[in-house]
């Protein structure tokens, strides 16, 4: 035990390990705050959908011959996220279906473009990049860490300031609209925030992990807690705990970081599921 603690201590001397911890925890924290709303609005899979959009955008950039495709990719993904989320509950095509449409469509178009105008021969490699992140969480530099810190501060501040509005909007958008809340403006704001978190996180940790970070903590807390506030607080704690322990475990036993975090999330979900079931039983 003390041996692995020692080993951990040694690892923590490396800046890249500290960066990974900071970024991992921050992204986990932000996405769990937004996750509750996303899951309740039936947008659980938005991370996956957007990563396919990013893939499609990369294909387009490749065809056009851009050397630096990052700005275009960021732009297109952010716009799609805003388009998806902005319409709110009254959209003709709802949450999951809209995400699925955009995701499958972008994937198909992207793959087609890559095949027809093939310049890079490593198509499957590119797909892999979008799924697991273009930069591994263990190769972050200082700029990216700062970017992440700034964005997280903004996200948390906005979330706290607009917490009550977010609740009202998520619970009953029509009532909020009818009684004078500026629903469209708030929907747009939430969409922009979610889009920037997801796009940033997708680049840093990959879409697979971001989907897990959005879904698992929210679903875990919803097994046990019954009020919006307690679910939000609990999923933030769960998410940070899972990210932290996932990263540490992966360093110690050298497993892939993203997958390890997801695994911890799954285990915690089972724990909460059991507790939830137990609560229902004992209440009867």
């Amino acid at each position: 035990m003390s041996e692995s603690l020692n080993q951990l201590y040694t690892y923590l001397q490396f800046p890249f390990v500290r960066y990974a911890l900071i970024v991992g925890v921050l992204i986990a924290f932000c996405s769990s705050l937004l996750g509750v709303t996303l899951v309740l609005k039936r947008f659980s899979f938005i991370g996956d959908g957007l990563s396919h959009v990013a893939f499609g955008a990369m294909a387009v950039a490749g065809v056009v011959g851009l050397t630096n495709d990052m700005p275009l990719v960021l732009f297109i993904t952010t716009i799609s996220a805003i388009l998806l989320l902005r319409t709110g509950t009254n959209a003709k095509i709802k949450g999951d279906a809209a995400v699925a449409m955009i995701s499958v469509g972008a994937l198909a178009v992207g793959y087609l473009l890559m095949n027809v105008f093939s310049k890079s021969s490593n198509v499957s490699g590119d797909v892999c990049t979008t799924l697991f992140g273009s930069t591994s969480i263990l190769t972050l530099n200082k700029t990216k860490v700062w970017l992440c810190v700034v964005l997280s501060v903004i996200v948390v501040a906005v979330f706290i300031i607009f917490y009550n509005k977010i609740f009202a909007l998520t619970f009953d958008e029509n009532f909020a609209r009818a009684t004078g809340t500026r629903v469209s403006a708030y929907n747009l704001m939430i969409a922009v925030i979610i889009a920037s978190v997801i796009v940033l996180a997708m680049n840093l940790v990959g879409s697979l992990l971001i989907s897990a970070l959005v879904i698992f903590p929210a679903l875990s807390s919803m097994r046990v807690f019954k009020t919006f506030k307690s679910v939000t607080v609990c999923s933030a704690i769960v998410s940070v705990f899972c990210a932290l322990s996932g990263i540490l475990i992966s360093i110690i036993i050298s497993t892939p970081v993203g997958s390890t975090i997801v695994l911890v999330d799954i285990l915690v979900f089972f724990g909460f599921w059991l507790v939830g079931n137990f609560k229902v039983r004992s209440a009867k």
């Binding site: 009550n164 009532f175 009684t179």
Partner: protein
């Protein structure tokens, strides 16, 4: 100037007309009951007033400086997801959301008022329970308490007594009556209970093949003559 004025209003969805030529005006302090058969367009009318549904033609004018944030609303159905985690108190106090503008948090006074509205609706014992685990009637009361939080001048109720037992129904009617007479809140209520509508309301709007709008007295007279005509024809 009246609180709400509708001229030649025609309602519907996607350009498809459901009811047309509605003319009415609601004055501050009125108690308007909307009656009509299922599917005649009562809910659609209310949603159009609230700006949730675009109108096809005609116009709606708000007078007396009425703002959206001073309107309370009780929907006929709220499509709340089965797994939505929200306590009764959280939902009731969210009624204040529209009137807060950019202020981030609820004030002490608003919290106290939410508590009063919860007591008014007789649901203080389930204040911390999870909304989705309540019965239909209890959920109805929660949403009405939320509507009370939202309103200062006007409350719109879409079938507030559906799903309530007879005690609760009588209580609901007396609460609404008191809102109208004591707090001077204008009431617009959809109801299938014509006898209650006639006894509480000051004005009646009948939506259907033929539309009627007028005072309660006129409505009763009108009904009597039409039923007399029917009797004569037989």
């Amino acid at each position: 100037m009246s609180l709400i004025e509708c001229k030649n209003l025609s309602l519907g969805y996607d350009g498809h007309e459901i009811a047309k030529n509605l003319n009415l005006s609601v004055n501050s302090g009125d108690y308007l009951c909307i009656v009509g058969e299922n599917g005649s367009g009562k809910t659609t009318f209310m949603k159009t007033l609230l700006g949730l549904n675009p109108l096809i033609s005609g116009e709606i004018k708000f007078g007396d400086g009425l703002k959206r944030s001073e309107i309370g609303y009780l929907p006929q159905q709220t499509a709340v997801q089965r797994d939505f985690p929200a306590s009764v108190f959280e939902i009731v106090i969210s009624g204040f959301c529209g009137s807060m503008g950019l202020k981030p948090f609820y004030s002490k006074a608003q919290k106290a008022q939410a508590q009063i509205n919860i007591e008014k609706m007789g649901i203080s014992h389930i204040k911390d329970r999870c909304y989705r685990e309540l019965s239909g009637g209890q959920q109805q009361r929660v949403l009405l308490a939320r509507a009370l939080c939202a309103t200062k001048k006007l409350i719109l109720l879409d079938e507030p007594v559906s799903g309530l037992d007879s005690n609760a129904t009588a209580e609901m009617y007396s609460i609404v009556k008191r809102l109208n007479s004591e707090d001077n809140i204008t009431v617009i209520m959809i109801s299938h209970d014509i006898s209650a509508a006639v006894s509480y309301a000051t004005h009646i709007l009948h939506i259907g093949a033929s539309c009627f709008f007028g005072t309660k007295e006129d409505y009763i007279k009108n009904q009597n003559t039409t039923s007399l005509e029917v009797a004569e024809n037989e």
